[in-house]
Symmetry: C2
Subunit: 407 residues, 2 copies
């Protein structure tokens, strides 16, 4: 339960705070009755009524009588997000595709923009142009009256603590790219832009609404072309001193292992990344999501070369998980990207390698999970970057959004 | 600055809280003037005066006129710990020795009890007996009138979250040993007992008064016979879901590496632990502190076999540090136990291996340090386990201590 504050000393600041809290409850858990809101916020019924009226007037929520079910007495109205309310433009940049979506309050995907596969990793300017196109395309797809409140971008690399520069995205070959500034120039109406690391955003989204619910010690291990971890420890994101925590992909696990594009040998990525998987299956194809999906489909159909490759990755994945869990003693590890498919196909191999390499004496083994949000975890985490601003101050965000709406 | 509370609703609870805060300031920073205490606690002068009078009556602090220095006006009295005040019995259990000390408020070592080297790793009962002897010996060594408030024990293994069972101490060959209960039976006057992992306690002590001051993202990498890490992230101890975080010693860094006593091959410990160091120097001796110290002395004197061994450990140490920092993005790594001597002898080799293996693009390299508290970090961290109870409620601890004092 989140305790709200009754209006007293600074009524305006308290009202903004409480509006954010109430909207946050609806954002996290969906439709709630006024009675539930009153209980959760520990405020008076009349205060909650006034807050709901404010949020309704701001176009953020709508009250309705629930349909279905027969209950005695006067039905309690439920308060939920509006279909034509605010939305986040969420973008998931990966090496072979840029996927975008309009995400409404409550984490609902309202519309998607077709992802674009490129032969080469995209440049920051190409990504910015694709996002600009997505902003327009999504605006046409959402309900009339909806308005965008910002752009959240997930990138497969480390992001500056100011959330605007991609410090290092090795598989995109980006080094210190000011993607935030480039986007601010490219996107027509000056929407606020926030960047985040894909695994960090994925663990945020999964903890809010997916396989991380209820745990305070989680690792989201993201495997795409590159490999990275998003960490929650003690119930808080572990971002590290410069915001670069979780860069496990270039930890060397065997100094005589395969050569990595980073210059070292035997990096985690050369064992469990998508390129490694394709190479182990002897497939000389680019690591697009289609090629990777085809490999897993073949493994499930009984293709021995594909199956052997997935099992080899599974074993190395178990070793990687164990090394992380030995350091972090996480309760739960969520496997994302192609690692989810590895785990689905070769659960026993992953679990057995975890047991082999992990120190588990005196406590239960770590829980292994696939994402509750499917492949959308980084995308929905990127939306949360935008919603964080909205929830911090619903009044300010609406005011600034109004100045952005096209004439 | 720590904001204290002016007495209002529950005067007794607030008084206890404020007594703890004031005592905590003196514990952390030593002697302070009443003016400094008034400013730090943001309380009135009269309230601080009353709190100081309370702590003086409890025998916890003493006020005195500072000697030396000539200043105009009335000298401000300083408040500091009493020489004959409370002390913690701090114990540092390692594979080849059990070192004990009486530690006063402010982290001052008041007396030490000779450590005992054993041919075999001690059993829990042997450790308990040595601690019982230390309790008596230290009582004879401290100022008359001093009184013990509890026993804090550092162990080279994982400790249950209830702080009373050693779950797993591989180099002691302990598995699920109820050392807390054994000690409670063995120690004559029923002093409260708290256990902690050596590296976890070391990082606590170093952050309070040593090389970790001022940083919120620290790893203390402890190298003795075993290897473990104590982690502070976001300014808080990272203990993990079961309290077992930091068990990096059995992470496998080369599956074709040397066989480890844990059954695996190529564990971190087989590269940078004290047994590994002695073996690399071709010395078939037990890993006592004397034998390890002799090896470093020989390396400094130019013994080529010793120097080569230390340099080999230095390189592996750099790799271990980099793998930890890639995951945690710590600001500072403190090297303890024999790893401090490795770093002192082969600083360049350690730093160069860290650079080779760490992802540092876009941010400064990690800061490498040796402990500010020398080899006492785990011992002083163990004392903090005891002081935590005292600072939480100075009134209760004194009351219970009085019931424990021998008739």
């Amino acid at each position: 339960m989140v305790l709200a504050r009754e209006a007293a000393a600074r009524p305006d600041a308290i009202r903004r705070h409480n509006l954010g809290l109430l909207l946050g409850e609806i954002h996290r858990d969906g439709e709630l009755t006024r009675a539930e809101l009153t209980q959760r916020l520990a405020l008076s019924r009349s205060t909650v009524g006034a807050l709901v009226a404010d949020l309704t007037a701001l176009g953020l929520v709508v009250e309705r009588v629930p349909t279905g079910g027969v209950r005695a007495g006067r039905p309690s109205h439920v308060v939920g997000p509006r279909d034509d309310g605010p939305y986040a433009i969420a973008v998931d940049v990966d090496v072979t595709r840029v996927a975008s979506a309009a995400v409404g309050l409550g984490g609902r995907v309202l519309a998607r923009h077709g992802s674009l596969a490129a032969g080469q990793p995209p440049t920051p300017r190409q990504v910015a142009e694709q996002i600009a196109q997505a902003v327009h395309a999504l605006d046409d797809l959402v309900c009339p009256g909806s308005w965008p409140v910002g752009i959240g971008v997930s990138v497969p690399g480390t992001v500056s603590s100011r959330n605007d520069v991609v410090e290092f995205a090795p598989n995109l070959n980006w080094h210190g790219e000011p993607l935030g500034a480039i986007l601010a120039d490219t996107v027509p109406n000056g929407l606020p832009v926030r960047l985040g690391n894909d695994a960090d955003l994925a663990v945020t989204a999964e903890r809010l609404r997916g396989a991380g619910r209820g745990s305070d010690d989680i690792v989201f291990l993201m495997g795409r072309v590159g490999v990275g971890a998003g960490i929650v420890a003690n119930g808080r994101p572990l971002s590290g001193h410069h915001g670069h925590a979780g860069e496990v992909g270039h930890n060397v696990v065997d100094p005589s292992g395969p050569r990595c594009h980073c210059g070292k040998r035997g990096c985690v990525e050369t064992y469990i990344g998508e390129k490694a998987l394709l190479k182990l299956a002897n497939r000389r194809r680019p690591p697009t999501s289609e090629n990777v999906a085809a490999l897993f489909a073949d493994a499930h159909r009984g293709d021995p070369q594909a199956a052997v490759a997935v099992r080899a990755v599974a074993k190395a994945l178990g070793h990687t998980i164990a090394s992380l869990v030995n350091v972090l003693n996480s309760e739960r590890v969520i496997l994302g990207g192609s690692l989810a498919s590895v785990f689905d196909f070769a659960t026993a191999e992953v679990s057995s390698a975890v047991s082999e390499y992990a120190m588990t004496e005196g406590h239960a083994a770590v829980q292994l999970r696939t994402p509750g949000l499917g492949s959308d975890s980084p995308l929905l985490g990127a939306a949360e970057l935008v919603f964080a601003d909205l929830l911090a101050d619903p009044l300010a965000t609406r005011a600034s959004a109004e100045s952005l709406i096209r004439p």
